[in-house]
Point group: C2
Chain length 265, copies 2
């Protein structure tokens, strides 16, 4: 993602420019849930790494393979060691992103996953979004400047050609650690001008920005947040079908990336 | 903290028992804000580490020194590189805790900091709490088992002797990424039976549990959440005075720990 007003030394800038002009070879796919991950693991014929480069005790899972000359690693945060459910949300996603960037030095991060969509912003079940901006909607700190820090607005790496080529919608993503939406969350999501809502994106963007790795976000709509059905019910009902659509979209994105530089996306 | 129903192999258990019976020698103090950190840095005469063992780009700061035969590292997440405010909240705290555990292999983590208190649970400004349990109040996932994962209840390492010796209150801590409190947050905090509320504790507990490092939590009340004054105003008003009280309490805790094993706390 584009750094926002941060200091960077000349050698760092030179390296960044060089990276922009070399073909992308090393992609890190970050996925929150096993159901979302497995269609992509199968599509790219990735194999689970027995030694993933993660410390003992963490449940994170890494798959690896080569597809279209691209070195692809796919990570998902695994099952919670105590409770056995997928380790969703911002904290496991942040930790796994942080460790994976250090271990794998990716050229580009793709965070793919399901999301809630807002029909007020014309999102429908099954819609696929390439995200322009990410922010948080559940970090309210009403002290000047801390408020902006809480919102944590960041831009995805710019992909004008990718957007022109593929049939994806564009919109802003808002992230929070709850599957449901409180009145305060809704107000923040509206302030964030978001069309999709997830539980990891802005956290992954934060870590990627901290460690200076460009990141893009592909989100598929499993439920209409401002609709009539309860989110949890609609989410579970559509999860399988929508993850199939997500697999197709991510494959198109990866096919497009193959052989291109960051500046050509 | 106490593992909750997790599988652990025999050698791991043997190592844990051995650790329980050796004197604590290596303490990691985790602090969220510079204002909270500096009195402790001065008290323990810690020096900033020019090579803290953190990757390039992260703003985290590490201080180190020896006090009463204890090897003390104090870390705080530093200023946000873009906005210049303290990197508060669960995500930086998680990342820094994760990296610090791996780099420093502490015997015990002490998370010390300010918190909001609930007068309905008899908390007053300046009160010092040793935390019994931590949980989240802003991770609502209304799907069976995921709901428990969201709450993320964990126990602090048991410290019955420490409690008997020192004049600290005992209570439960609830963590969320907002300084204010929505109606949903409040309902979750009540369900968590919490007397104090912070922005990092449960996240630090999560990482410590994942990497099997015992953790305790000392929280000083800067504002009454269910009182008349706005939280942000009261927080800023009391921050300096309360951090002085926090310094005294943490010093007492560290003095008590010196020469003792984990099982003697």
């Amino acid at each position: 993602m584009a750094p926002q007003g941060e200091g960077s030394d000349a050698s760092g800038e030179a390296m960044a420019i060089q990276a922009e002009q070399q073909p992308i070879s090393n992609i890190l796919l970050i996925i929150a849930m096993q159901t979302e991950a497995m269609p992509l693991v199968n599509k790219f014929q990735l194999k689970e790494e027995p030694e993933p480069g993660f410390p003992k005790g963490v449940p994170w899972v890494r798959y690896h393979g080569v597809y279209n000359d691209l070195n692809i690693n796919l990570v998902w945060p695994g099952k919670d060691p105590s409770l056995g459910v997928d380790s969703v949300g911002t904290i496991p996603a942040s930790l796994m992103t942080y460790n994976s960037i250090q271990a794998l030095q990716p050229d580009l991060i793709i965070n793919a996953g399901t999301a809630g969509g807002f029909k007020a912003k014309e999102a429908c079940i099954g819609d696929l979004y390439l995200v322009s901006d990410v922010a948080f909607h559940d970090r309210r700190i009403p002290i000047p400047v801390f408020d902006l820090y809480g919102v944590g607005l960041r831009q995805a790496h710019p992909t004008p050609r990718l957007l022109k080529e593929l049939n994806l919608k564009v919109g802003k993503l808002s992230t929070g650690d709850s599957l449901d939406m409180s009145a305060q969350d809704e107000a923040s999501i509206i302030a964030n001008d978001a069309v999709v809502k997830d539980m990891e994106g802005a956290a992954i963007a934060y870590v990627a920005d901290l460690l200076k790795v460009p990141a893009i976000f592909v989100k598929a709509v499993t439920d209409v947040v401002d609709g009539d059905k309860p989110t949890a019910e609609e989410f579970l009902e559509n999860l399988a079908a929508v993850t199939a659509a997500l697999e197709q979209a991510v494959t198109q994105v990866v096919d497009f990336i193959s052989g291109k530089c960051l500046s050509e996306l």
